[in-house]
C-alpha cells in the first residue's frame, strides 16, 4: 500500500503546479486551433474543425519554415553540443585558474536574447561591424560581407549567435555529469594501460550516456521552439530566409492576428517534437 502511494506523493507537487499553470493554457490553445480566431474580432469564433491544419499543410511557407527549423535545430544543437562537450572535458581537468575559467564560460548563457541579438547584429554589421573590419584587415575576407542581408549567410549568422549562447549549457550540464564518474575507474584503467581515447570510450562516454541523451533531447526541444534570437536579429528575414516554424506561428498569431491559425502551427510543431520524444523514451525503455 505504502509502495504504491509514495511515487505519487513525490510527484504530486510538480503535477499539480503543471496542471494548473500550464496544462490549462495548453488545452486552451489546442481548443483555439480548432476555431477561426482573429484577435481583433473577439465576437466571432466559428468552429472550423481541422481547417487550420489543412491550410497549414498546403501552405508553401509552412513547409519552408519546417525546412528552416530542421536546419536550425540540427546545426545549432550539433555545434553547441560538440563544442560544449569539448569545453566540459577541458574544464574537468585540474589547473590553477579553473574556477575563473568555469565561471567565465557561463557568460554567453547569462545574457538575455535581446542583448545577444543586438551585439551579434552589430558585430556582423556590413559597414561598422567589428567582425567584418577584422576579417578584411586580417585578410580572411576580401571585402565586407552583408551577413544578415543575404539569404545564404543569414541562417549561418543566427546559428552562430545561438551556438555562442548555447555552448555553456552543455559545458555545465556535461561537466556536472562528469563528476559522477568515479575517479577510481580512470586510475584502474591507467594501471591496465589504457590510453586517453580508450578511457574516453569505455569510461567517460558510458558514464555520461544518460546525461548526454537527456541534455541533447532537452536542448533540441528548446532550440526547436526558440524564436527570440531570430526575431531580434533578422525577424525571419531577409524575406523568409530565417523564418522557422515557431516564428511563423508567432507572427501569424500576433502580427497577422490569426490566432487560430497560429495555434494550429504551434500544435503541429508540438506533435513533431512529441514524436521525437516518444521515440527517445521508447528506445531508452529497452535498458
Amino acid at each position: 500500500m505504502r509502495r504504491a502511494v509514495t511515487p505519487w506523493a513525490f510527484l504530486a507537487p510538480a503535477l499539480v503546479a503543471t496542471a494548473v499553470l500550464v496544462l490549462l493554457p495548453v488545452l486552451n490553445t489546442l481548443w483555439l486551433s480548432l476555431h477561426e480566431v482573429i484577435l481583433f474580432r473577439p465576437r466571432s469564433r466559428p468552429f472550423v474543425g481541422l481547417e487550420n491544419y489543412a491550410k497549414a499543410l498546403t501552405d508553401p511557407v509552412f513547409w519552408e519554415a519546417l525546412e528552416h527549423s530542421l536546419v536550425w535545430v540540427v546545426c545549432a544543437v550539433g555545434l553547441q553540443f560538440s563544442f560544449g562537450f569539448m569545453a566540459a572535458l577541458l574544464l574537468n581537468r585540474t589547473f590553477a585558474w579553473r574556477a575563473v575559467a568555469r565561471a567565465l564560460i557561463v557568460v554567453p548563457w547569462a545574457l538575455p536574447s535581446v542583448i545577444i541579438g543586438l551585439i551579434w547584429t552589430w558585430m556582423l554589421d556590413f559597414n561598422l561591424g567589428v567582425l567584418n573590419d577584422l576579417g578584411v584587415r586580417l585578410g580572411l575576407l576580401s571585402a565586407s560581407v552583408p551577413w544578415l542581408a543575404q539569404t545564404g549567410t543569414a541562417m549561418a549568422s543566427v546559428i552562430l549567435a545561438v551556438m555562442w549562447q548555447g555552448i555553456p549549457f552543455f559545458a555545465v550540464t556535461l561537466l556536472a555529469g562528469l563528476q559522477a564518474i568515479p575517479v577510481e575507474l580512470y586510475e584502474v584503467a591507467s594501471i591496465d594501460g589504457a590510453g586517453a581515447w580508450g578511457k574516453f570510450r569505455h569510461i567517460t562516454l558510458p558514464g555520461l550516456a544518460t546525461v548526454i541523451a537527456t541534455a541533447l533531447l532537452l536542448r533540441m526541444i528548446w532550440v526547436a521552439n526558440s524564436l527570440d534570437l531570430i526575431l531580434v536579429m533578422t525577424g525571419g528575414g531577409p524575406g523568409t530566409a530565417t523564418q522557422t516554424l515557431p516564428l511563423y506561428a508567432f507572427l501569424t498569431a500576433w502580427s497577422g492576428g490569426n490566432y487560430g491559425q497560429g495555434s494550429a502551427l504551434a500544435v503541429i510543431l508540438t506533435i513533431l517534437l512529441l514524436g521525437v520524444v516518444i521515440t527517445y523514451v521508447w528506445r531508452s525503455r529497452e535498458r
Binding site: T6, P7, W8, A9, F10, L11, A14, A17, T18, L21, L24, P25, V26, N28, T29, F83, M86, A87, R93, F95, A99, A101, A103, L104, I105, V106, V107, A110, L111, P112, S113, V114, L128, V130, D133, L134, W164, I167, T173, L175, A176, G177, Q179, A180, P182, V183, V211, T214, A215, L218, I221, W222, L227, F250, A253, S263, A266, L269, T270, W282
Partner: protein, 276 residues
C-alpha cells in the same frame, strides 16, 4: 619547462583560453562599447580601442533609470524560481528514477509536452488565468510562471543525474532505518550535488533572462531587467550606451553565482560511497 607543465599548457590551458576567448570576446566588446562615448560607434573606419573612456553610461543607467531596482526584482524572481523549481523537481526526479510504476513513461513525457509549445502561444490564456488568480504584477506570478515552465526540463535533467547514483545506496540507508524522504535528503541529494548545481544554474539563468512573462504578467510593481532593457529600444531612438552598460551588468550575477557554486563540481563524490 617541465614536460608535465608543457602538456598542461598545450593540452588544457591553451584550448581553454581559446574557448574562453570565443565566449567572452563579444561580451568584452560590449563592455568596451559601454565605457566609450556613443560617438565612437559611428566612427568609420572602426576604432577597436577607445580613445576616450567614460563612465557616463553607467552613471545614467544607475541614477536616471530604474535599472538597479530592476536588477533587484530580477534577483528576487530568479532566486524564487530556483527555490520553487528545485523544491518541486527534486522529489519528482527521485520518484522517476527510483520507482517503477505504471504510467511512469507517459507521465515523464507529458511533463515535456508543455515545453514543446512556443510559449508565446500560451501567453493569452495564461494572462487571463493569472488575472483571475489576482496574481498579476506580483512576484508570485513570475516565480510561479518561471518555475512551472522550467519544471519539466529540471525534472528530466535531475532524473538523469539521479540515475547515475546506484540504488544500492538508498537501500543501504533504508536498511539502516531511513524513510524514502530521508534517503533522498541525506544520501541521494548530496551525491547528486553537481547535478543539482547544474540544474539550479539552469533555473536561475532561464528565469533571469526570461522576457515574455515579465512583460505580460508584470510590469509596474515588478519589472525585471529584461523588460527594462527593452525600454531602451524606443520607437525612434535606440539608447545604445545604456543598452551596452545594462547588458554588461546583466551577465554579472549569474557568473558570480556560478563562480562560487562550481566549487561543488568536483569529481569523486560517488567514488568510495558504495564501499562504505
Amino acid at each position: 619547462m617541465k614536460r608535465a607543465r608543457l602538456t598542461l599548457l598545450l593540452g588544457t590551458e591553451i584550448p581553454i583560453l581559446g574557448f574562453l576567448a570565443f565566449a567572452i570576446l563579444p561580451w568584452c566588446w560590449m563592455m568596451l562599447s559601454s565605457i566609450r562615448p556613443e560617438r565612437d560607434l559611428t566612427r568609420s573606419p572602426i576604432a577597436l580601442w577607445p580613445q576616450t573612456l567614460t563612465l557616463i553610461n553607467y552613471i545614467e543607467l544607475l541614477q536616471r533609470t530604474s535599472f538597479a531596482q530592476n536588477m533587484r526584482d530580477s534577483l528576487i524572481v530568479a532566486v524564487g524560481a530556483v527555490s520553487l523549481g528545485l523544491t518541486l523537481a527534486l522529489p519528482a526526479a527521485y520518484a522517476f528514477s527510483r520507482f517503477r510504476f505504471r504510467g511512469r513513461q507517459v507521465l515523464r513525457t507529458q511533463f515535456l509536452v508543455i515545453n514543446m509549445f512556443p510559449v508565446v502561444m500560451l501567453i493569452l490564456p495564461l494572462f487571463v488565468l493569472m488575472r483571475s488568480l489576482g496574481l498579476l504584477d506580483t512576484y508570485f506570478a513570475l516565480i510561479g510562471g518561471h518555475a512551472t515552465f522550467t519544471l519539466p526540463f529540471a525534472i528530466w535533467l535531475l532524473t538523469g543525474y539521479f540515475e547515475g547514483i546506484p540504488v544500492e545506496l538508498d537501500q543501504a540507508a533504508m536498511v539502516d532505518g531511513a524513510t524514502r524522504l530521508q534517503a533522498l535528503r541525506l544520501v541521494v541529494f548530496p551525491l547528486a550535488m553537481p547535478g543539482v548545481i547544474a540544474v539550479g544554474l539552469y533555473l536561475f539563468i532561464t528565469s533571469w533572462n526570461e522576457y515574455l512573462f515579465a512583460l505580460m504578467l508584470a510590469g509596474r510593481n515588478v519589472r525585471t531587467v529584461t523588460v527594462a532593457l527593452q525600454l531602451f529600444i524606443g520607437e525612434h531612438q535606440i539608447q545604445w550606451g545604456l543598452l551596452m552598460a545594462g547588458g554588461t551588468l546583466v551577465s554579472v550575477p549569474a557568473t558570480i553565482l556560478f563562480l562560487f557554486a562550481q566549487r561543488r563540481l568536483v569529481g569523486g563524490l560517488t567514488g568510495g560511497a558504495v564501499k562504505g
